[in-house]
């Protein structure tokens, strides 16, 4: 077995060989390059400008200038403290408070500075490769594209860069940075008793993860297991019950002989248009032990004492699933209506000539088609339900609570609502971050393993 084939099979090996190539490139280009290229190692864009590519060179140069300005004025003071997250304590001078290091901002802007450094290194390497390319073009006697051509290419061959520049930057600043930040928090002791700017927090390694999986008194292990189980079960129920009932309602409305189809659909669709924080809060009061449903049933003498819709752990779970049907069916109904029309009508015709009953047609034609086509939807819907904050939070807020759970979790809490309570009520950011990472792992494992099994995935590749 040769060395290259090992590298191909082993992702770690191929990564290192790629890194090795980059270093080799840097060295080789420096040795072989002309003086303009060599100066570009220090002053980015120098070579390009000297060769008349002002736009390109100017871009590189301004990136370097901006970087230096950012680091000297702002970044370096945070970046240098990233290892300790600050050492200067807050103190009092007479009655005046003098704040020390702000651990939170050190971590946040330290990471930001790290991002900038990686970005600069990437640009720097690009800049060198660019120089090499230009030299080669010039050597072969061709002309370099001018600034104008460079600019125009941004709307043609390089249009993707124009389109993606802002969105990608936005995602980096407002999604990637915060996520990396919170992953880091999981390895610190940032909580209510280490609150910036008054107190410092610092790195603690895997301490929080140990706590999450400890099963003793005060440990989160048991609660985590219980909440995780309910989260998985809930997502399964919420996805599939809604799915089948939604299709059933769509078929019912689409049935021959049913008039005012549009009216029925519109009535159901109201639930999508009215904001959930209004409708769900109302529904939660409806099922209250003294709410209208219990009150009316008691008035009619059907029940003797109130049904504990929200206070009994099992019943609360059932009620949430039922209310979620109310929310979910309209979406599914709309979707199924569109898809049902795509099923070739002659399939049904030939089946009915063969004497198939409606149920047989449903089982052997409708369902296989729907399951095939909506496979990806079911998966995203499942992962969406794992993180379905609104329904749980607005209906029960995680209640009923019990002493068998720690960390303020209740019987109907999902991992996300538990996480939310930890951030807002207890400002226990370190444990919230750990739970967040767990949510990610659960979602990712399920998505990736199920995604590979979907029948329609392979066909979809054809489009891309």
């Amino acid at each position: 077995m040769s060395n290259t084939s090992v590298a191909k099979k082993n992702p770690v090996g191929s990564f290192f060989s790629a890194v090795g190539n980059v270093f080799k490139d840097i060295g080789v280009i420096f040795v072989q390059g002309d003086w303009r290229t060599k100066i570009s190692y220090l002053i980015m864009g120098f070579g390009q400008i000297m060769r008349g590519q002002f736009l390109r060179g100017g871009m590189y140069l301004s990136i370097e200038v901006l970087f230096i300005w950012f680091m000297t004025s702002f970044g370096s003071k945070y970046f240098s403290k990233l290892g300790t997250l600050g050492t200067i304590e807050t103190y009092k001078k007479n009655r005046k408070t003098v704040y020390g290091d702000h651990s939170f901002l050190i971590l946040l802007f330290g990471l930001l500075a790290l991002f900038f450094i990686i970005f600069l290194l990437f640009c720097w390497y690009k800049n060198i490769k660019d120089n090499q390319k230009e030299e080669l073009i010039l050597k072969s006697g061709k002309k370099l594209p001018g600034s104008k051509a460079d600019f125009l290419s941004l709307f043609d061959s390089n249009f993707d860069k124009t389109l993606l520049a802002l969105p990608v930057t936005g995602v980096f600043a407002f999604t990637v940075l915060p996520i990396v930040f919170m992953i880091c928090v999981a390895f610190t002791n940032y909580d209510a008793t280490h609150q910036a700017p008054t107190k410092l927090f610092t790195w603690v390694g895997f301490e929080n993860f140990k706590n999450m999986f400890s099963f003793g008194t005060g440990g989160f292990g048991r609660t985590f297991g219980g909440v995780l189980l309910w989260t998985l079960v809930w997502a399964l129920l919420a996805t599939f019950i809604d799915y089948f009932l939604g299709i059933a309602v769509a078929i019912l409305i689409n049935k021959k002989g049913i008039k005012f189809k549009k009216f029925w659909r519109t009535c159901l669709v109201m639930t999508i248009a009215v904001p959930q924080f209004v409708s769900l809060l109302y529904v939660s009061k409806l099922f209250d032990s003294a709410g209208i449903i219990n009150g009316t049933l008691m008035k009619w003498g059907i029940i003797d004492s109130a049904i504990p819709f929200w206070t009994d752990p099992l019943l609360a779970k059932v009620t949430i699933v039922v209310v979620n049907i109310w929310i979910g069916i309209p979406y599914l109904m709309l979707m199924a209506t569109g898809l049902l029309m795509n099923i070739p009508a002659d399939l049904y015709e030939s089946a009915s000539i063969d004497g198939a009953t409606p149920w047989q047609m449903f089982r052997h034609i409708t369902m296989p088609y729907m399951l095939f086509v909506t496979g990806p939807y079911l998966l995203t819907s499942y992962t969406g339900n794992l993180n379905n904050f609104n329904v749980i939070y607005l209906l029960t807020g995680g209640a009923p609570k019990s002493m068998s759970y720690t960390g303020g979790a209740g019987a109907t809490d999902l991992l996300v609502t538990w996480l939310y309570k930890m951030t807002i009520n207890d400002t226990d950011y370190k444990m919230a971050a750990v739970i967040g990472i767990m949510v990610f792992i659960v979602t990712a494992v399920i998505s990736l393993s199920v995604y590979r099994m979907l029948p329609s995935v392979k066909d979809e590749e054809g489009f891309q």
Partner: protein, 291 residues
């Protein structure tokens, strides 16, 4: 003859049960809305009726007090409403633009790191959003976009990461034949020209779908919006302020006012939704298939 009539009867019976079922479903589905609308007409004035939660649905006296309260000067409701409209409008506009750009680039162009980017974004989407809330708060605070500046701050955050929600739109672009693009490019049109003069005009349904979905989301945002406003009353949106009416001890007996505020929100959103329902269905259906 006899068989035909029995078939007819059978169909009539089955239709009867279908209608019965539909009527029951519609009643269940609409009941909360009737409850909210009826509640909004119950006066909170103790001389007339009572503003808290009660165990009957139909108010004893019809009154517009709650609407007078919401639209009067006693609260900042009008201000909150305008904040929400502003956020919804700009988020809808900018988010649609961003999604169109990203979708076109990913659907039509092949560049280095394209699949890497798509995979990376897919993985990012699996992190729960609440986790990043406090971090975003401090980021925005640094540039003055919290508290008094919360409205532009919320718009910025909603738009900044919206590129990740390209799936449905890209799926739609994938169905537009590439041959059309190629033909135009052979005629000398640049990518940008193809995008603006061909792809966009052909994508009306998906543009409307994107804009509609983006417009509806801010009306429901209370968690993040309350974080950004950080106690600055004038920066609240309707969801934050009305959520307080229901969940803070300072506002006892605000239930009927909550209902009235809810109705006032529901009216524009529902109307818009009814008019554009066709496009919404198209988006949902397309999105389901594409995943």
């Amino acid at each position: 003859m006899a068989r035909e009539s029995s078939m007819k009867r059978k169909r009539a019976v089955s239709n009867f049960f279908s209608y019965l079922l539909l009527i029951i479903i519609v009643i269940i589905w609409l009941f909360p809305f009737f409850g909210i609308v009826l509640g909004s007409f119950r006066s909170y004035n103790p001389a007339v009726e009572y503003g808290g939660i009660v165990d009957y649905v139909i108010p004893k006296h019809f009154s517009l007090d709650n609407y007078r309260f919401c639209l009067g000067d006693e609260t900042n409701y009008k201000r909150w409403y305008m904040n929400t409209v502003t956020i919804a409008f700009f988020v809808s506009l900018l988010q649609t633009i961003v999604v169109l750009c990203v979708s076109y680039a990913l659907s039509r162009m092949r560049f280095n790191g394209r699949t890497l980017l798509m995979k990376f974004w897919l993985i990012l989407g699996m992190f729960p959003g609440f986790l990043t809330m406090i971090c975003l708060y401090f980021l925005l605070k640094q540039v003055g976009l919290t508290q008094a500046g919360a409205v532009p701050g919320l718009i910025l955050v909603s738009v900044a990461s919206s590129g990740m929600g390209y799936y449905i739109c890209k799926g739609y672009f994938d169905t537009i034949p590439k041959a059309l693009d190629e033909a135009a490019r052979i005629d000398g049109a640049s990518r940008a020209r193809v995008f603006f003069t061909m792809t966009i005009p052909m994508s009306k349904p998906i543009i409307i779908y994107q804009a509609l979905v983006a417009f509806m989301a801010p009306w429901n945002d209370y968690v993040f919006a309350s974080y950004m406003a950080f106690g600055h009353d004038k920066s609240y949106n309707v969801a934050v302020s009305m959520y307080r009416w229901m969940n803070t001890g300072d506002y006892q007996g605000y239930f009927t006012r909550f209902c009235a505020g809810g109705v006032l929100i529901a009216i524009p959103v529902t109307l818009l939704f009814m008019f554009l329902q066709k496009y919404y269905v198209e988006g949902v259906t397309g999105g389901a298939v594409k995943g």
